[in-house]
């Protein structure tokens, strides 16, 4: 008995050690500098978690092309990213909002030069729903606002019926699903509702969902799975992750638009640049109330922010190559493939490129 249990014990310990051992003997991540690509070093960024999966794709491409480089990105949220950038802890920040006046002054001071702020990640936010036998739904911004405020509680409400003639809407209750965590998606969605709903939405444009009520889920995936597993649910999520769910089309002008990458990318072309900013600081005021044909106004535009000049020449080179890759057609395609973002249009990409080229 004794010997048997000793053997079991030995096997157990061996198993534990083996588990860790195999991990330790694996391939090492940091390849030596002699590999391909003439860049080397570590590039640190931080900020919006919305960009995280896109950055995963960009990083993969960038690190494969430049094997001596490691890119780190801490998804600590937009505010944290801007703060750390101003404090000088990181080389670039990812942010769902451009720098405000105070931040701009502080950032210019940190850089001892103008800043470079470019929108590189544009993602349509889809309104997803799960309703028996209903695959298509048309909504306008006022109705959307009422639904998410909790004022319209039933699917056969007159407002919804009026928008969807010929569709047999059940009388079941509506369960609005929103993000339980703070998020740029919420910020952009509520920004759209605030601007376009004509007063039915009263929560303001905020990162933390303001309405008490409805189903809260964490992360985009949480919202998607909550909508999927419930019935009579409606939610908002990055369009790329809405696979397999019915998506509402939104009334823009007189037509109904679906959240396609193309429709979202057009937002940048209709957007107005914020005045009194340097040429390299591309701050966009998105026109949420646009009536232009084929534009989908519920989009999230996320920026990457960097300096024009860095004290460390190598850091400067890294930042420039990184941003160039991110804004390039290949980079945008990589993000579109793996994060479902909308690639920048050619014209807009050229403007962005000019801004990035000013880093020198």
């Amino acid at each position: 008995m004794n010997r048997k249990s000793l053997r079991a014990l030995a096997a157990g310990s061996a198993g534990t050690i083996l588990l860790f051992g195999t991990a330790a003997c694996g391939t090492s991540d940091n390849n030596d500098d002699s590999a391909k690509g003439d860049l080397h070093g570590t590039l640190n960024g931080a900020g919006a978690s919305s960009q995280e999966s896109a950055i995963g794709a960009w990083r993969q491409g960038f690190q494969q092309a430049n094997e001596g480089v490691t890119v780190n990105y801490d998804p600590i949220g937009s505010g944290g990213g801007r703060e750390q950038f101003i404090a000088g802890g990181i080389s670039f920040a990812g942010s769902d909002a451009f720098l405000d006046e105070d931040e701009l002054t502080a950032a210019t001071e940190r850089c001892s030069s103008d800043i470079v702020s470019v929108p590189v990640y544009v993602s349509p936010i889809a309104v997803i729903f799960n309703l028996d036998n209903v695959k298509e739904l048309k909504l306008d911004s006022a109705t959307l606002g009422s639904i998410f405020e909790g004022k319209i509680t039933s699917w056969d409400d007159a407002a919804i019926k009026a928008l969807n003639p010929g569709i047999d809407l059940p009388s079941s209750k509506i369960t609005p699903v929103h993000r339980g965590d703070d998020s740029g998606t919420t910020k952009n969605f509520t920004d759209y509702l605030t601007a376009a709903s004509g007063g039915t939405w009263t929560g303001g444009a905020v990162e933390t969902w303001p309405v008490k009520g409805g189903e809260a889920a964490n992360g985009t995936s949480g919202v998607v799975s909550a909508v999927k597993s419930g019935s009579g649910t409606i939610g908002y999520a990055d369009a790329s992750q809405a696979d397999g769910l019915a998506t509402a089309s939104i009334k823009v002008g007189s037509e109904f638009v679906n959240p396609t990458p193309e429709a979202a990318a057009q937002v940048l072309d209709t957007a107005e640049r914020v005045a009194d900013r340097s040429d390299t600081d591309i701050a966009l005021k998105i026109d949420r109330t646009t009536t232009a044909s084929g534009v989908y106004p519920i989009v999230m535009v996320s920026y990457q922010i960097a300096c024009q000049k860095y004290e460390d020449a190598n850091e400067q080179k890294l930042v420039k190559s990184w941003l160039t890759w991110v804004a390039s057609a290949e980079g945008q395609k990589a993000a579109a493939d793996s994060a479902g973002s909308a690639p920048l249009s050619e014209d807009f990409a050229a403007t962005v490129k000019t801004a990035i080229d000013s880093i020198s």
């Binding site: 588990l19 195999t22 694996g26 494969q64 801490d74």
Partner: protein, 360 residues
């Protein structure tokens, strides 16, 4: 909790039928056995066929209730109550086992297909979509838990030595014991916040590092080590100490050469269980150690992935498409579960093998 194998004999334990005080007419033993067997059969049917676990459980319970019912008819109210309580107690145990079975089967079913050599030897660096593994998380867990052990064991052991060997059992010692007990109740997230607040003072805002995780885990681990070591030191007979002192051996050498070796197996068991307890902690590591895709073996530099945090973030923030990431989360959860179970097994093995014969 460690005393599971050494507990004294349960009084009057034995199959219900052996315990037979005077009733009117004793229930035939064969009848009760038959009812219990049928009940078990119903339970098994419920889980194995499409009858469903819940219905099977209900059916089994109803059948089991025949025992007190028959008893009421044959043996009278007192015996019937006794048998009824027996059914209730067994039911309580069954209810406790259901979630365990469900959890284990879920984790194994979803996690086992993911485990492969590649899964243990690659990190998530440059991985988008399928592939990748948990090498970085396993190394992080190993390093952070290792440092936590290095911090906790000396402190915990010395504190236990003080309490048993040096203190006179006065108010100081009683107070310290009391505080140790209270300290075991510190929520893990508070430990994480403490480590964060401490490291912010040293390194500035937004700090994330592996060592911080080790400090947070130590806060949780130290009281466990103290309590278990104390119990073990208490078991060392006083005669051994007195004999050593009588030979002119100094007090500290007595402790090092006589007391500690005697209690060693028990102490090692306690430490192993303490490691098993903290290795699965998620919340403090989420706060202070953060998450990264690459292998980071430097606990003083930046974010470090760990198995529980990896499982959490892979499940909560899967990329596009989400399924590979969710699969990896279950794989990591299973790996973690295996490690914890092995540690528990090792601890029990040690305590079983080295416990004095009469305590078995």
């Amino acid at each position: 909790m460690t005393s599971l194998l050494t507990r004294p004999a349960a009084p009057s334990a034995g199959p219900p039928s052996l315990n037979r005080p005077a009733g009117r007419r004793p229930l035939p033993q064969g009848l009760t056995a038959a009812i219990w067997a049928t009940s078990g059969l119903a339970l098994a049917t419920g889980f194995l066929t499409d009858l469903g676990g819940a219905r099977g459980f209900g059916l089994a319970w109803l059948i089991a209730m025949l025992v007190p019912l028959a008893s009421l008819v044959f043996e009278g109210r007192r015996k019937a109550t006794d048998r009824f309580v027996t059914v209730l107690v067994v039911t309580a145990f069954m209810i406790a086992v259901i979630p365990l079975v469900s959890i284990l089967s879920t984790v194994i079913a979803k996690g086992a297909p993911v485990l492969s050599a590649e899964f243990f030897t690659t990190s998530m660096r440059n991985v988008v979509g399928e592939g990748g593994g948990i090498q970085h998380a396993m190394l992080g867990t190993l390093i952070i838990t290792g440092f936590a052990t290095l911090i906790s064991v000396p402190i915990g052991l010395f504190a236990a030595i003080y309490l048993i060997e040096y203190s006179d059992g006065g108010p100081t010692a009683r107070g310290l014991r009391f505080l140790t007990d209270v300290m075991t109740g510190i929520p893990s997230i508070v430990a994480g916040l403490f480590a964060y607040a401490l490291f912010v003072l040293i390194f500035g805002e937004g700090i994330r590092m592996g060592l911080g995780g080790a400090v947070a885990l130590s806060v949780l681990m130290i009281p466990v080590v103290i309590r278990s070591s104390e119990e073990m030191l208490k078991l060392v007979p006083n005669e051994l100490r007195e004999a050593s002192w009588a030979l002119g051996v100094s007090r500290w050498r007595t402790i090092v050469k006589v007391v500690l070796p005697t209690a060693l197996a028990g102490i090692v068991t306690g430490v192993t269980l303490a490691i098993a307890r903290v290795i699965g902690e998620t919340a403090p590591l989420l706060i202070i150690a953060g998450m990264t895709d690459s292998v980071n073996t430097n606990p003083l530099d930046g974010r470090m992935a760990t198995l529980p945090v990896f499982a959490y973030s892979a499940l909560m923030n899967p990329g596009v498409p989400p399924q590979p990431s969710i699969d990896r989360a279950w794989g990591a959860a299973l790996t973690l579960l295996i490690i914890v179970m092995l540690l528990n097994l090792v601890a029990r093995g040690i305590s079983y093998l080295f416990s004095p014969a009469q305590r078995r």
